[in-house]
């Protein structure tokens, strides 16, 4: 705690932070510290929700949505449509340093097709908007066969592991490669059983009469909880780190309360 107070004393009471507010290079339109202060204001506005719903939060929230919506269009144009569609369609005028690019007029077909999406707002002709959506979904669906093959065959192969030990040693340290010790075999048996049992819980989630399937589904649910526990733990971690990063932004980058990275 003393260390903490020493840090605080160092920055604020010696007045460095206040000097920073007005410091900028000639070409900069705003001092960097003013930029950071605006960011801090927005962050605090978002966090004010933790106290309760309020006007400040709604104000900041609408700035956020507006910026994000504007950025979506910027991205769509600058990253895709400008290069892949507009320039491909009309070609590029040659300049001293850049060569000419051919124009391929066939790309123009996509403009009316894309704009059929607008019919989603029309009550009578809403079905027309299904055509562009159908094209995208069709292209997606067609890839699912090879995708399944590529993604899950290696997974299944990795699950069919040997389960019979070929040595009577208990532990694996210092064994030549290819030996399967008893402890390895036990681990592998657990791996295979877990896979089968959870899969049975998943595939037979409707009501079961068979005693064996019932049992297996029960254990499957328990083992599933291990997977979910791991997911829960790691989710917590991500969310906390996000908050820690914001705390770093407010306390170190903005207020300069401690040593930077």
């Amino acid at each position: 705690m003393m260390k903490f107070l020493a840090q605080v004393d160092h920055s604020i009471f010696k007045g460095e932070w206040w000097q920073e507010l007005t410091k900028k290079e000639d070409w900069q339109i705003m001092p960097p510290m003013v930029v950071l202060t605006i960011g801090a204001f927005l962050t605090i506005g978002i966090y004010s929700l933790l106290y309760r719903e309020n006007k400040l939060y709604r104000f900041v929230e609408h700035i956020f949505v507006g910026l994000a919506a504007g950025y979506a269009i910027v991205v769509a144009w600058t990253q895709v449509l400008a290069d892949q569609w507009w320039d491909a369609m009309l070609g590029k005028v040659p300049t001293d340093a850049m060569p000419m690019a051919l124009g391929r007029w066939a790309w123009a077909v996509l403009l009316p097709i894309g704009f059929m999406g607008l019919f989603v707002f029309s009550r009578k002709q809403a079905w027309l908007s299904r055509i562009p959506i159908g094209i995208i979904l069709g292209l997606w669906a067609g890839q699912q066969f090879s995708a399944f093959q590529e993604e899950f065959l290696p997974q299944l192969a990795a699950t069919t592991v040997p389960i019979i030990p070929n040595t009577w040693e208990l532990a694996g340290a210092g064994q030549p490669p290819g030996t399967l010790t008893i402890s390895n075999a036990v681990s592998n048996i657990i791996l295979v059983l877990t896979f089968l049992v959870v899969l049975s819980y998943f595939l037979y989630s409707f009501e079961q009469k068979n005693k064996l399937v019932q049992r297996s589904a029960l254990y499957g649910r328990w083992l599933l909880m291990i997977g979910l526990g791991a997911i829960f733990g790691t989710t917590m971690m991500t969310r906390f780190v996000l908050f820690i990063d914001r705390a770093y932004f407010l306390l170190i980058e903005w207020l300069r309360l401690g040593p930077p990275l």
Binding site: L49, H62, V75, W85, I131, V198
Partner: protein, 399 residues
């Protein structure tokens, strides 16, 4: 006879092609490519207008047909055996049609372009809602105004910055050309001077930041910090002076050396990045949008914490297993947690009780197969869904 696939692939074999026309620097209205594009838009629109008139019992087959044809391209791509040429290129030859794979980039682009167009349409619907609210001065019109102003600010600076960056690309290409022919002009003298200044400035700023970091960590004293700052200032002056001399020599001899070209490239970049547009774009994107993004997503940490405190009760075997696993995983992900057991030797039997060993074992032998089984279940569902879409059985798409 394989012109059809060549057309689909937008390939340009030697000779003239009706589907790939030249673009010249003449006025756009006098160029054939422009009229071809206009004609294509008109013809497609008429076709689509006719489609909109079809009787309602033809609608479903039409959508299903389009969807199936699009999907069929990839299914065939998966099924047709591929050959690898000596050049490393992969082809999928089909009799009469030609190399089936050739049209792949076009299929890929098509999906990307239509997705991007639909994205724009989505934003237009946000605009409709809020603009309507503003016009009618309904409740909360102020917030709608804030939203629309933010949206157009971002739109303006984003687009302006994009066109500036394109201009920068042209400048960089010109510099490359000048460097090739070793020609120096007045413009490159200016740009290279700015380049040398901006590079030296970056070096100075890095040195200052480093000194500041060390000062705050207590590694150096305040006097040392001040000395380093003055040193950085001196280094900056010397570097600028040195490269200015170099640039002047080049300007006098009229010859552009590779070093000067490098400075000019840096200068062209700095010229753009220091402009009003680029700085404003950085402000709205990096310093506002990204900050808001991070703050909003970090709120969830608080909500999960409070939910865990209120709702996480060890009432059943399932909840206990879940809690216990989460606890071990959590501890194994922070060094302070690992420190609890890091005293145990890792090469002896007792080493199996180290937190990292236990957590690794759980993840590898219990979590891995469980997640695999979940994923396999899901993937079978996705595969079935893909088939339903392809064959028009999925109601949400076809009806």
């Amino acid at each position: 006879m394989n012109w059809s696939i060549q057309f689909l692939a937008q390939d340009t074999p030697p000779g003239t092609n009706i589907w790939a026309l030249e673009r010249t620097s003449d006025p756009i209205l006098s160029q054939p490519i422009f009229w071809w594009v206009v004609g294509t838009i008109i013809v497609t629109s008429i076709l689509l207008f006719l489609i909109a008139r079809v009787p309602s019992n033809f609608r479903k087959p039409l959508i299903v047909g389009v969807t199936f044809l699009c999907g069929f391209y990839y299914v065939a791509e998966w099924l047709i055996p591929k050959q690898r040429l000596a050049t490393g290129e992969e082809i999928a030859p089909v009799p009469v049609i030609g190399n089936w794979l050739a049209a792949l980039p076009v299929a890929s682009s098509t999906a990307q372009i239509i997705s991007a167009m639909l994205l724009v349409l989505g934003v237009i619907s946000i605009f409709r809602v809020h603009f309507g609210r503003l016009l009618k001065a309904q409740k909360d019109w102020f917030f709608s105004a804030v939203l629309l102003i933010s949206m157009f600010t971002m739109l303006f600076f984003g687009m302006a910055n994009f066109s500036e960056r394109r201009g920068l690309d042209v400048t960089l290409a010109e510099i490359d050309k000048a460097a090739e022919s070793q020609e120096m002009s007045e413009r490159w003298v200016q740009v290279a001077t700015l380049g040398s200044e901006s590079q030296a400035f970056t070096t100075k700023q890095n040195a200052e930041n480093d000194a500041f970091r060390r000062l705050r960590k207590g590694e150096i004293s305040r006097e040392e910090f001040e000395t380093r700052k003055t040193e950085a200032e001196d280094v900056y002056e010397t570097a600028v002076a040195a490269s200015t001399a170099q640039i002047e020599a080049a300007a006098a001899s009229g010859e552009m050396t590779p070093e000067i070209a490098g400075l000019a490239r840096a200068g062209a970049r700095a010229e753009q990045a220091r402009g009003f547009i680029a700085q404003s774009q950085r402000f709205v994107f990096t310093d506002m949008l990204q900050v808001l993004d991070a703050a909003t997503f970090s709120l969830i940490a608080f909500f999960i914490l409070s939910a865990a405190f209120r709702a996480f009760r060890l009432r059943s075997i399932e909840a206990t297993i879940l809690m216990f696993t989460a606890l071990i995983i959590l501890l194994s992900f922070v060094p302070l947690g690992l420190a609890i057991t890091s005293g145990l030797p890792s090469d002896q039997f007792i080493g199996n009780l180290r937190l990292d060993s236990i957590s690794d074992w759980i993840l590898a032998y219990l979590n891995t197969p469980a997640i695999r089984a979940i994923n396999l279940g899901l993937a079978l569902g996705v595969l079935a869904m893909g088939m339903r879409i392809l064959f028009g059985l999925e109601r949400g798409v076809s009806e």
